[in-house]
């Protein structure tokens, strides 16, 4: 059963978006002392974008750590990014970076908690994506 892997900081913005999808999802742990997440099935990654306008540190460290595991990386099928248009050209930059590094499609961007339309769109889109796999 394919699924969702997500990272969300203590602000919980990305988690709240993922919750609204009502699909099975695994969370990348927040702290280095937590046991790392190992996935067994293909998944779409949901990640917030960090940092300012210069693109430094856009991908959360925890996500990098998760993707540095080769097995985890082999199962990624796409990435959905969260961000804020206030960050200009760095808007949802984490999605572009992961897409490029992992050679998977950058599926969708949403702002902060996302809108009801974003939730519907991503739910439908993921359904289609898994049918094609």
């Amino acid at each position: 059963m394919p699924g969702i892997v997500y990272f969300s900081s203590v602000s919980e913005n990305t988690r709240r978006f993922v919750d609204r999808l009502e699909l099975p999802a695994a969370r990348i742990p927040l702290r280095p002392v937590d046991a790392p997440l190992h996935v067994k099935n293909p998944y779409v990654l949901f990640t917030p974008t960090y940092g300012g306008g210069d693109g430094q540190g856009a991908v959360p460290k925890q996500v990098i750590r998760f993707l540095n595991d080769e097995h985890n990386r082999s199962l990624i099928r796409g990435v959905v990014a969260a961000g804020n248009t206030n960050f200009g050209s760095a808007y949802c930059l984490a999605g572009s970076i992961v897409a490029r590094k992992c050679k998977v499609p950058h599926l969708y961007n949403f702002e902060l908690l996302g809108t009801a339309e974003d939730v519907t769109r991503v739910r439908e889109g993921l359904g289609q994506l898994w049918l094609q796999q």
């Binding site: 900081s9 856009a58 080769e70 599926l107 889109g125």
Partner: protein
């Protein structure tokens, strides 16, 4: 003013090696990395462009900037400072001092724009306008009342509204000019402010949510109702303010969509879902693109339209710990 000065009741030496909330460090670092000064932006390159604007366009733009100066002054001297006594951690207090200073930098940067583009007399007239404009004064008054009040959570709501919503009737103007390839250096400066305000709104909204976690369900409901009422009150006033500024140029409706879009984002920063429906928040793509050049790129892979296998462009990352 005869109010009693409210200060933190007890100060301990701040220990950055013992952190209660990682968000404090993360946001501090982000703010420090984002630090800038108006002197770094070559505003004088906009002088020629400024003279291509009509008198009405110049007037609107000048007034917009005095309005923004007003809000940044409030946030720098009262708003961010008023949050310090209720901070949950010493590091949160430190972050507010950073925010307060940066707001003063923002307020000062409008003066840099003014001194570059217009005469002393015009500057004085614009400031007089800001003192006399009812809607601008009204929004200052609404927010200041909460800053002076005794409810720490309401203060955070008002502060997030200011950071994430009230600025945008003003921010529209430089984004509009930038979309027409005018005043582009001024727009670069404003984008730096917009970036800072996003971090401020996010952080204060986050601290509001942390505070809310410790409250009863009744009190949480009260705060939610209060937040939406305040937003409506401010939005009503923003509509009038927007009409006063933009009616002469026929831009009002376009600005209002931008206001509603940002009102929703202010609510999201406070942990609530947006209030205005999609149709009401459709920001003019030219404005959105001026704000965030890649926001209008096709990142809806699901739609299947166009070359939707979107792979990011070349970007710098911290490759040392990204080792595959």
């Amino acid at each position: 003013m005869s109010e009693k000065l409210k200060l933190v009741s007890r100060v301990s030496a701040i220990n950055w090696n013992r952190i209660q909330d990682e968000k404090d460090v993360e946001v501090w670092n982000r703010l420090v990395n984002n630090f800038w000064l108006p002197e770094k932006v070559p505003l004088s390159n906009d002088i020629q462009s400024w003279h291509t604007l009509t008198e009405a366009e110049q007037l609107m733009t000048t007034r917009v900037f005095t309005g923004l100066t007003m809000l940044d002054t409030i946030q720098g001297t009262v708003g961010a400072v008023s949050l310090i006594p209720d901070a949950l951690t010493p590091h949160e207090e430190a972050v507010y001092t950073n925010i307060a200073f940066m707001e003063s930098v923002h307020a000062k940067s409008y003066s840099s724009i003014f001194s570059t583009l217009i005469s002393t007399q015009e500057i004085d007239e614009a400031f007089r306008w800001s003192e006399e404009n009812e809607n601008l004064q009204r929004k200052a008054e609404i927010v200041l009342n909460y800053y002076r009040g005794d409810d720490p959570l309401k203060r955070k709501v008002a502060s997030t509204m200011l950071e994430s919503f009230l600025f945008y009737s003003g921010f529209y103007a430089p984004m509009y000019w930038s979309s027409r390839a005018k005043l582009t250096n001024t727009a670069d400066l404003i984008r730096l402010i917009i970036r800072d305000e996003a971090v401020h709104g996010y952080y204060i909204g986050y601290k509001y949510q942390k505070g809310l976690e410790q409250e009863t369900p009744e009190r949480r409901q009260e705060m939610k109702d209060y937040t939406f009422e305040l937003l409506f009150e401010l939005y009503d006033n923003e509509e009038d303010y927007t009409e006063a500024l933009y009616d002469p140029l026929g831009l009002t409706e376009d600005v209002k969509a931008f206001l509603r879009y940002n009102a929703n984002k202010a609510l999201m920063n406070l942990g609530y879902e947006g209030m205005f429906p999609k149709e009401a928040t459709a920001v003019n793509p030219a404005i959105l693109s001026s704000l965030s050049p890649n926001a209008d790129e096709n990142h809806d892979f699901f739609s299947g339209s166009g070359s939707s296998y979107v792979i990011g462009k070349a970007v710098n990352t911290e490759d040392e710990d990204w080792d595959f």
